[in-house]
Symmetry: C2
Subunit: 301 residues, 2 copies
């Protein structure tokens, strides 16, 4: 599974969804630039990080879950871009000197290295803020759908989700056992993936059963994804990853892999991936999502 590659059709589908996302982000970029005057440097800083070569995993999941629930992907584009904005804001703030102090991100200088600390702080704030505006401004969705999407986005990225997980990661001084590490991953990584998959279903107008199944899929996927990330931080190649390896150990971070060892971590990630895989049974036309799930575990970047 380590060298899993996507089939030609899935590779094509992935490119298609990434292109849809990038085109809509570019459209939002143009609108933002047109509006800003002497403060336009913030738009540059925001899009520097937004276009720094992220995998667009969250948007891809949003668009594909919308599709497998029978919706036109266009209906999920605002949610997809909002999730990428939230993800990017979190990376910009995580890289700041008072957090992880990472100088590189995706093979390029991190936002504060390129634009300075205060600009990076404000660019992160602005991306978080804009994520909600993008959904509220969408021209295709009903007010009910927008409200449901915004509730998902806020709860998944707030103190009970991504930010809450970040707090445990950086501030909690007690002992980290397996359960707490997995709780932390559930908040820090799974929460936003859960939102991505659920928001795709919501955009398509899917029923509660499908929304829940998509959320459970994402929960498992997120844990597997984070554990794989830990392993790569201990064993990966800096040139391929495009970011420094060993930063977890250097920052004294407790990870599933560092606490349980690399082999146990590989086994756990594999089990979680199987569980995620099984949650896709209820969705028709799930070939791409199944391949993507396996691909993400075997990824080398």
């Amino acid at each position: 599974m380590k060298n899993m590659v996507l089939s030609e059709s899935s590779g094509k589908r992935l490119s298609e969804l990434v292109s849809l996302t990038d085109a809509h982000l570019e459209e939002l970029h143009k609108r933002a630039l047109n509006g800003t005057g002497k403060q336009s440097v913030i738009t540059d800083a925001m899009w520097y990080s937004l276009s720094a070569g992220g995998k667009r995993l969250r948007p891809v999941l949003t668009l594909e879950f919308c599709h497998v629930c029978g919706g036109d992907e266009r209906k999920a584009l605002s949610a997809a871009c909002a999730l990428e904005m939230i993800h990017t804001f979190s990376l910009i703030h995580d890289d700041l000197p008072c957090m992880d102090n990472d100088d590189m991100r995706r093979g390029k200088p991190s936002c504060h290295k390129a634009f300075g600390e205060s600009m990076a702080l404000l660019a992160g704030d602005a991306l978080l803020n804009m994520a909600f505006g993008v959904i509220a401004d969408d021209e295709y969705l009903s007010a009910d759908t927008k409200t449901a999407l915004i509730r998902e986005l806020s709860s998944s990225s707030g103190i009970l989700g991504m930010i809450g997980g970040q707090v445990i990661d950086t501030e909690y001084k007690g002992e980290f056992d397996d359960a707490l590490i997995l709780d932390m991953y559930s908040m820090k990584t799974s929460a936003l993936l859960r939102a991505a998959c659920r928001m795709g279903c919501i955009s398509a107008g899917a029923d509660e059963d499908r929304i829940s199944a998509a959320g459970e899929f994402a929960e498992k996927l997120g844990l597997a994804f984070q554990i794989t990330d830990d392993i790569l931080d201990m064993t990966g190649d800096e040139r391929i990853l495009g970011k420094p390896v060993g930063s977890d150990a250097q920052n004294g971070k407790n990870t599933y892999a560092s606490v349980n060892g690399i082999e146990a971590a590989r086994k756990k990630a594999s089990e979680l991936t199987d569980e995620a895989y099984a949650r896709l049974d209820g969705f028709k036309d799930n070939g791409f999502l199944r391949e993507l799930t396996l691909y993400l575990l075997g990824r080398d970047r």
Copy 2:
């Protein structure tokens, strides 16, 4: 006008609206604390700053504009608290070492002095995020109203509003003339006040004319308020203000008062206040808002 005090009835009304706001913030605090586990320190940091003795000007305006448009204040409580969260997030991030580096805020150690830099960064992020969630979760408002409120909140606090103004304030390296300083104040200070007044009207279901008039009132009030703030930074008493004076000059900031002198600034603030005052003509039962406007210019804190 320097020693303007509110009449007994207006003072009572002000207390009433502040109490309504504080009670709802406390309710939201309890809900947040109940939900958080090992990350609960972030809730402490968020409410440390939220309850640090702010004037609650934005919530008061939101609730009162809802009232003068014929709405029950309860319908505007989520918007009011959301605005206070956005305002507080901006103060926490502005105080950080990479921004204004202020150790004190409202007579108490600023958030990063009390909780550390990384916690203050995350607490600001979480307040910004929660502001949108509070509106989306409101149980009294329609989805249409929620969406309209969220659009106001996002546009007023983003790159075309508060954050945009902050970028010009901290990053713009060109010359600051009167027009640019007033533009910057319009974004940095008026935008959120404009949102406060407009969101009060929107919560009440008011028509577009009233929403616009409320926005114009706030625009003028915000400029007057910011110029008054500049004057206080040059002339105020640190013990009364509860924050250091002279920090603008120390940080090399261009303010209307520093560029034009204190007397010209006083005159401009007075003119703007008169203009704001006139915009209230279209609202019945506007006695409190009129007194509040005059009070804010003559305030000594």
